[in-house]
Amino acid sequence: MDYHFNFTIVWRHAWRLWWGLGLSLQIAAASLGLGMLIGIALAVAYTDGGRVTRTAIAGYVEFIRNTPLLLLIYLVFYGIPSIGGFAYDATTSFIFTLAFYAGAQLVEVFRAGLDAVPPGVVDAGRAIGLTPYRNLIYVRLPTAFRISLPALSNAYVSLFKDTALGSVIAVPELTHGAQWINFNTFRILEVYALLTPIYLLTGWIILAALRLLERRYAIVRAM
């Protein structure tokens, strides 16, 4: 093995990694936020809607779940502008792709959350005279949200990992930064020796922090 490790060149460009890490975390947060909106809206529509709505939502979920994320990224970034006649930059399109991707998973999460709201609680809401809409906003959604918190933490960490795929359409996130250093300095092993622990540590830290939050706010379903 004749490989001589030389980290000095990599350190000189390491700002690309830190900057990319920040962008990755932001993309994950933005797409989780948008994905949650999609997820909540569709979960409510699914739970309270008719058969046509349900079939349409199930179709969306199955489409996203059975298609490679890479294909979805290409489809949104190259495909949609080619027929829509408008264009957006890589980061925006990537955030929307991840949002649709997360949304499909979060529909299931929130649907389970809505189903897990104890019927007595909903009845109590009706008994004090809440309209169905207010019952949804003040009783069912907040309860369902707190039940779903652990799944949301997992979704965030998993989205953070998925941001690595942004590198294929040149979103300047963490993996893209690493590839830039790889291609421009040829310090291959050093870059990946740094990149792997960055993903590992960040994932662990986020998950530990979110678990603390959950302990404060989450409702454990097995009450």
Partner: protein, 217 residues
Amino acid sequence: MIDAMIYALPFLWDGFLITLAVSGIVVAASLALGLVFGVILAFGPVWIGLPIRVFADTVRAIPLIVLIFTVYYGLPALQVPLSPFWAAVAALAAFKTGHVIEIVRGAITSIHPGQMEAAKSIGLTFLERLVYVVFPQAVRCFLPPWINSVTDSVKGSALVSLVGVVDLMMAIQQVIGRTYQPMPLYILGAMIYIAVNAALSVASRRLEARFAATVAT
């Protein structure tokens, strides 16, 4: 739109076969390795279980694309000659092995330890205990998450296109490079992936029903 799809189909066939080959090899290799390491993790001593645990947790905690790039760019730097195909397959298989280890361990630990003790008391060897007592019961817990991970492998195989292997994803990109019509091709590609995964989930539902029936007697 339909014309572009029909025009493209013959060009996608070879790539489609590569996608199937990659998925097949990855599923088979990860199942074999995952079974062995999962059993070791469940029953072995701590000193041998710890590296397995570290491996499984590490590959599951980093993005698959990072693993593929690490193997693809990293091993040649260490003077290990490796074709793009095998580099990508090795990375995918390592990634999937991490998942299968976890599924196997979970399925085994779901079996009451009394089962193992009872089998021991009637004089079965360790291998016999596994094959005749633990596995037939654990398979019910093992199948649903494992089938999920098989569909994941088919989807994950699209990433081999990033290191230049001409799989279905790459074949799609090549046709787009000639026709400049991205949308029909991406939709066609999505339909092919969905068809493969739908076929898999029909097959898996049969498999699950079969095992549920035999064990429940």
